[in-house]
Symmetry: C2
């Protein structure tokens, strides 16, 4: 059981340990919840004794894996300088693309399934870790963009948190819950780009300070 259940923590690992955690991720993706300590050890070609020495117990393995994956997802920050409407739109849209790519990736789906199941079992840091590194992390990274847009007179809103939640909803819609429940919707790169573009247009239509001008009210299919 790791003592850290917050962000970061994933840098004090040896290369070998990271390889093991990558093996855990592959096992999660391929075998779902048939994730036993024995299967992990076999997949990672290490002994169970090593797993227990490094991570304490099964929960420690899961926790370390979630944090390891989270540390890999840190996307680049978006500059909030010299914003014009095109740059703002670009920032929002690339944000939406990145998020859709994450939640539709096999790894994220497998990880979230484990975390959701774990959250149902009483004491569950896993769910909170996933939330902290997923939903809340992107919120904290996007809110400065929103506030910069407001300061530049491009966006109009009162509460950045609520406004981010709206953007979150417009981008994600039903994608994550459908994927978690096993719907095999195909989120191709083209689909993701298309939906991110729509979501951004809709968001700007709702919160753009100026009338959206050329934004179509009826989405073109």
């Amino acid at each position: 059981m790791q003592e850290v259940n917050d962000i970061d923590a994933g840098e004090t690992l040896t290369q070998r340990q990271r390889d093991v955690l990558d093996a855990v991720l592959r096992q999660m993706v391929e075998e779902g919840d048939r994730l036993t300590m024995t299967s992990v050890a076999r997949r990672a070609r290490c002994s169970k004794e090593t797993l227990y020495r490094w991570f304490g117990d099964r929960d420690g393995v899961l926790t370390a894996t979630v944090q390891w994956q989270a540390s890999k997802v840190r996307a680049g920050t978006y500059d909030s300088q010299h914003l014009d409407v095109a740059a703002l739109r670009e920032s929002l849209e690339s944000f939406a693309i990145a998020w859709l790519e994450v939640i539709s990736s096999e790894t994220s789906i497998a990880l979230n399934r484990v975390a959701v199941a774990h959250a149902g079992s009483g004491k569950s840091n896993l769910g909170r870790i996933v939330l902290a590194n997923g939903r809340f992390a992107i919120g904290e990274r996007l809110k400065p963009v929103l506030e910069a847009g407001r300061k530049a007179g491009l966006l109009a809103f009162e509460d950045a948190e609520e406004t981010f939640r709206t953007f979150f909803g417009l981008v994600g819609r039903d994608v994550q819950i459908r994927l978690l429940l096993g719907d095999d919707m195909k989120m191709t790169a083209a689909t993701i780009r298309q939906e991110a573009s729509w979501a951004t247009s809709q968001f700007l239509s709702l919160h753009g300070a100026k009338p959206p001008a050329t934004e179509p009210r009826i989405r073109a299919l």
Copy 2:
């Protein structure tokens, strides 16, 4: 193992069987995934032999429970006659309220957790059953409302499915994933009403055929 994994199927149960499934639901809510056949039998005050005779195996119990819960959630249909903008807004908003109430209920959260976990374990009808009775069922019930609104000249959109997905996203935002991952956000009746109202305003702002007139572009907090 039940042979029906579609909608309906929950009417051919005896009262005693429904009581047993209600006990399973309570067990799910209170004990999470600590749902063993023994605990179910004890809670339902029936024998395990009866559970196996009625439902086949553990999966059969879970499947029957999901279908039983689904059969209880059938909400009233919304009339699509004589729509004016107030009636349309009322329909959308009550839809949003009903959906937020469902996804924030303890029962739904527990059920969705089980279904998500199950979807990770290869063969999983559970996830599809939950999707069919949740996300897709409300989609099929709301789309006629949307199309009636368009026919009445109150809404403008091209694809009812995509438009429903937008409404779905505006209503649900980050609520379901946060609750599934164990975030104890408090969705009070007042909060639900407030968020449903916002979502409806935003949706009408995006897809209302006439300019939204009195709808505020900046959401009032």
